[in-house]
Assembly symmetry: D2
């Protein structure tokens, strides 16, 4: 039904591949460039020899997540020797076509505005972040399963923070029979944690210092809070047997120097969806892109 609408995909990893498969299965004319030697199935999408072939005639040009690693070159991990500047791509985007991508630098956004290219960062969509919480939670679960000498069933797990990732993680851990404590500041969030089957623990903050309750007896702590609640003082009191998995965006919530000094096992786990479930993550990006195309009037309401 969307045969007359061409979407050009440039660069990216297995998520981009899953996205190509998804968009072509729905019926878009889908043109792909930059997946390099990856020979996996891309449905009825077409691999282009040159990137301009993929862009030409497109209603939307979709760059990967992130669009660029260095703010200059297209992120193209499956064709590593490639060099293609985002500015060059912009020069070829058809008039009126949308430029989509993840985590655009503000300088790129400004340039696009200057060139009157409608640019949309799909990573800023709240529903994408929500859906990404699930592969993140599964990725964190897999790390815990791989690292712990015990089963998740019956283990004592603490989660700091009860936002998107905290909620999804608590759900999967409870589903497998872990005893889950949620540590958070807001009594509303703790009320949710409680009716979702977790033990609530208040995170007190006085004079900018957070006071974690007693974590003795826990097997694993998952941190989702993006500031240092696991500071020197907290880490000093913490048993060395507890596995710590930090899911918070950089710089994370754990004082890494102190953790090293006290001999804690800490695993920093970032950008899990693309690593542990690239096809799922690509489909989530696909959902978001369809929503954007609908919102922008390219396709009729879903």
């Amino acid at each position: 039904m969307y045969e007359n609408i061409k979407i050009g995909l440039l660069g990216g990893d297995l998520r981009q591949l899953a996205l190509a498969r998804r968009l072509s299965s729905i019926g878009f004319e889908t043109a792909v460039w930059g997946l390099g030697v990856c020979t996996a199935e891309i449905g009825s999408a077409v691999r282009c020899a040159g990137w301009r072939d993929a862009v030409r005639g497109s209603t939307a040009v979709v760059l990967p997540l992130p669009a660029s690693q260095d703010g200059v070159q297209l992120n193209c991990p499956l064709a590593p020797e490639t060099e293609l500047r985002l500015t060059h791509i912009m020069n070829e985007v058809p008039d009126g076509a949308l430029l989509l991508g993840g985590k655009f630098d503000s300088s790129i956004k400004q340039l696009a505005h200057k060139k009157h290219i409608p640019i949309i960062d799909y990573y800023e969509c709240e529903e994408l972040q929500i859906k990404n919480a699930l592969p993140t939670a599964e990725g964190a679960l897999a790390i815990a399963m791989n690292e712990l000498p015990i089963t998740i069933f019956g283990c004592m797990a603490a989660i700091t923070g009860y936002g998107r990732v905290g909620k999804a993680l608590a759900k999967v851990l409870c589903a497998l029979g872990a005893k889950v404590t949620v540590i958070a500041r807001s009594i509303e969030e703790l009320a949710w944690a409680e009716i979702n089957g977790c033990t609530p623990m208040r995170l007190e903050t006085k004079n900018n210092v957070s006071t974690l309750g007693n974590l003795e007896g826990y097997d694993v702590i998952f941190n989702t809070v993006p500031y240092k609640i696991f500071d020197r003082a907290v880490l000093e009191r913490l048993s060395k047997d507890i596995l710590i998995i930090d899911l918070a965006t950089s710089p994370g919530g754990i004082d890494s120097f102190a953790a090293k000094e006290f001999g804690h096992k800490v695993i920093w786990a970032l950008s899990l969806p693309g690593k542990v479930a690239p096809f799922t993550a690509g489909n989530i990006i696909g959902d978001c892109i369809l929503e954007i195309l609908s919102r922008e009037g390219v396709i009729s309401q879903l």
Copy 2:
């Protein structure tokens, strides 16, 4: 540890009784009046002969939920012949003592302010509303179990709205193996519904008219949206075999005249926590009162 703090409870139903048990078990001096002939166990709380005995010397006077049915008299269902005006109670509240209760009329609040009585409506606490979502969900589940000729396992259920009650209800239905569709406006809420295992269905709104998708094949619909999305047009298309349970606060989400005309089975289910699980509901009020006492400095932080 709280022996020196007296709390006086007046009126109310089994929730008030559970509250008395809870507060006395924690160590408060707990004085109760108005539970009438109900002889159930109230722990170490003391039944007072006169209401003034319960109020005298109290640090906090706790009225039930709702504090009054008519805005004038204390709500006292277990001692039905009782007549005690809230204004009379206010005259006896000790200096500096808190006056707590649920769903105070604004006129009562204004009067309290005028009399310099610190008055707090615990029903306005967000965490109480969140925790109440669970007994509400269980109550709605019980109604569905009692009414439907099929098991919840495998049944097709639709929930309109994905706020507190919608979320709690979806969770219990999924837990029992129902196939749950969540119908909501916001794509963020639908993303949550999806990762929580439900099928998302968008509720479109144009020119103030909501358009429900096709609900053929569903066995039961739970409405939690407090305005008429089940209007004449929707109800006319709906199969008569579908059980409709309306959980939205008055006037609810279903056009009752049209429902009657078309022969739909609609059950209006309001104030479920106090009806289906009064002891749990009383304990939830207790949690909230402890939080208030802590916030107000009556007791140290929990």
Copy 3:
């Protein structure tokens, strides 16, 4: 695909009605008699004026569950004034046709054998009993929800016995967040209970006397063991606040005289599937009948 195969249904309640709907939807020529004034939808099944019309030409004649209440007359609760003896039905069953029904008396079976009528009691099918465990569990859950002044979430529940019903019941209670203890004799069953998330408690038996552990603090006990483990001695020690629901087939597991004497609240809950979820129960019978028809060569393998 089964248009040439006629199935005649006689008597029964809403289960028989659901069965008629199911069989006709699959394509059998389905003839019904004895549902009386019940005007509910029976799909493309045909209501017969006389019972002989339903039986004539049938490949299988299906009697309800139970086939008879008194061992003589057909069980016909929806047409209560009806009187039709099973022996009369047998006289009209076509040559070679199967006679199916639930809980046949041994005298009826013997008579059928004598008359060379192939008779099969579908209630003896293990898979029907297994599937029936689920509506039984939901029915027991609904009773507990209706009776207890607390939510199932967080309640302390004990289940005696971990057979079909015990397993299904433990599952639904755990799913709703109850804390479930399974009391059983076999350490194998207790190992299953443990990995299914329940607390195991050994039921010791010495000299034919079972010794129940301490049940203080429990809110509800579900008994599934069909002999008196709740004898005088056990009941005397048990708190009167505990709700007892007896699911075991007659005479059940609770000494009713002692329970009355000590003031226990006991609910005897029998034959739940047909009461709480007749359509589901009818479909389960349908599954079983299809299995029997396949096994007997009437239809090809499912």
Copy 4:
């Protein structure tokens, strides 16, 4: 309470270490030999310099699982250069002491009988096998999570066999939101699978040839059936994109030559509990040993 009972543990891996910790925490005098350089916490258990010190005075001598890799030498992976024959151990077992271990060769059992040493293979305990199904299921889940490019949530999983491991695995997969099909022979097992939320699929067998249904669209297959149901013919029809995880004891259920020829990704996953959750597995052995000690009258009933 068991200070006067000495238990000697020889050889083994981290499971034996967890067992030492468990037994010493209960109060047994626990003597350990053969954990080599492993410096992990063993509670109040005592590391012995010589194996005879651990055995001397013991009421029970506990060998690891398996007791021996080659039927001759003690299995001692944490002290790999060790050489200690089971026959030498037997010579030193105190009179009347129990000799416990896992997977004893029949020749060892015969020798023990000849020497009047009460020998018990704890791996033969049904309850240990049941409890082990859970770490096996979690281990299989972790493999699937590590290998699949999609989340378990929403994935299409098939499980062949519905015994101990099949049941535990179906449970964890369903808990995480996978769509699970159970393929089995017995309609009773399929009825259980159905009420546990799985889709049942009949495994037909004619003339010793099993016929698997259509597995198109599945993402992962877990085999638990210990004979070749995935033969050449089945594998030829199967999509190469499906991940196959074989959990069945050797020789497993998959024709490995054909799988290689057709390019299937097969993972053979054996003895998972000791690998993925050695501390849990050690505690499970501990449960079993306590049960044996109770049954044998060494300790009073648990």
